[in-house]
């Protein structure tokens, strides 16, 4: 019972941080604040990964998302020198329409999945399924073809970014 309630408390804390910073992303006027809120949100999601025994994904998420992708966003933002004064704003009724549509989607999805009968996640049960040794073995036996295809995808993305950027 003691470990259970600790798990639940950590879950609630991480979820509150994630949702609050996600709201900060879409509500803050300054784009730089949005990026910083996004980084907090990603760190909270990484905390969820480590609570779910996904150690490899925790590390990759921190390095790739927080370390590379968000820094790329920050670079672009600072290169363009955007700030709250020149931030384009939608008309008010469009904003309300967007919020209501998103809230309706939330209601529908929650209502549809509330009664789903699924096995529970056992809090505090340690598995080694998320370790690099285990995942690497599966990746290089069952999923070699997608892995090699992703290298082609990266090559084409790199060439595409350079070609677009040079124009």
């Amino acid at each position: 019972m003691g470990t259970m309630s600790t798990e639940l408390m950590i879950f609630i804390l991480l979820s509150a941080i994630a949702i609050a910073s996600a709201l900060g992303v879409i509500l803050s006027k300054n784009p730089v604040n949005s990026v910083l809120n996004m980084i907090i949100c990603f760190v909270a999601i990484a905390g969820h990964y480590i609570m779910l025994n996904a150690q490899f994904l925790f590390v990759v998420h921190l390095i790739v998302y927080t370390g590379a992708i968000m820094v790329l966003f920050l670079f672009v933002l600072m290169m363009m020198n955007l700030n709250a004064d020149i931030e384009p704003q939608k008309r008010n009724w469009l904003k309300y329409a967007g919020a209501i549509s998103g809230g309706a989607l939330l209601l529908v999805l929650v209502g549809a999945l509330r009664e789903a009968s699924l096995p529970a996640v056992q809090a505090g049960s340690a598995t080694d399924i998320g370790l690099i040794a285990n995942l690497g073995k599966t990746l290089f036996t069952s999923y070699v073809v997608p892995f090699e295809l992703s290298s082609v995808l990266f090559l084409s993305a790199m060439v595409g970014a350079v070609v677009i950027g040079k124009k």
């Binding site: 784009p31 949100c41 999601i45 779910l52 994904l57 998302y65 999923y143």
Partner: protein, 105 residues
């Protein structure tokens, strides 16, 4: 802990991403909201992976590899997408997506 908690958290993050796409006009913010939606789905995949491991299945690590591939595709997508946004900014000196409505004609 019921897996429903993770489902609800993922739905909340996904819907915040949808709201951001609908409410904002800055192309970079919209792009970030798409990343947020991808991450909501990733979190749900990891939760289901843990759920099936606890239920006794041995092949549940495929879900974590799927998350890994989603991250790979997201990284490629961000590089190309940001290049497009930078080019758009260079041409129009703005990241307002309403300017792109000229593509209609």
């Amino acid at each position: 802990m019921p897996v429903q908690y993770y489902i609800f958290l993922s739905i909340a993050l996904f819907c915040i991403g949808v709201m951001g796409v609908l409410m904002r006009r800055n192309a970079i913010i919209i792009f970030m909201c798409i990343e947020l939606m991808l991450n909501a789905v990733n979190l749900l995949l990891v939760a289901f992976s843990k759920m099936w491991v606890d239920a006794g299945r041995i092949d549940a690590d495929a879900a974590q590899l799927f998350v890994f591939f989603v991250m790979v595709v997201a990284a490629a997508e961000v590089s190309v997408g940001l290049a497009i946004i930078v080019m758009m900014y260079r041409n129009t000196h703005s990241v307002d997506i309403n300017i792109l409505s000229r593509l209609k004609n």
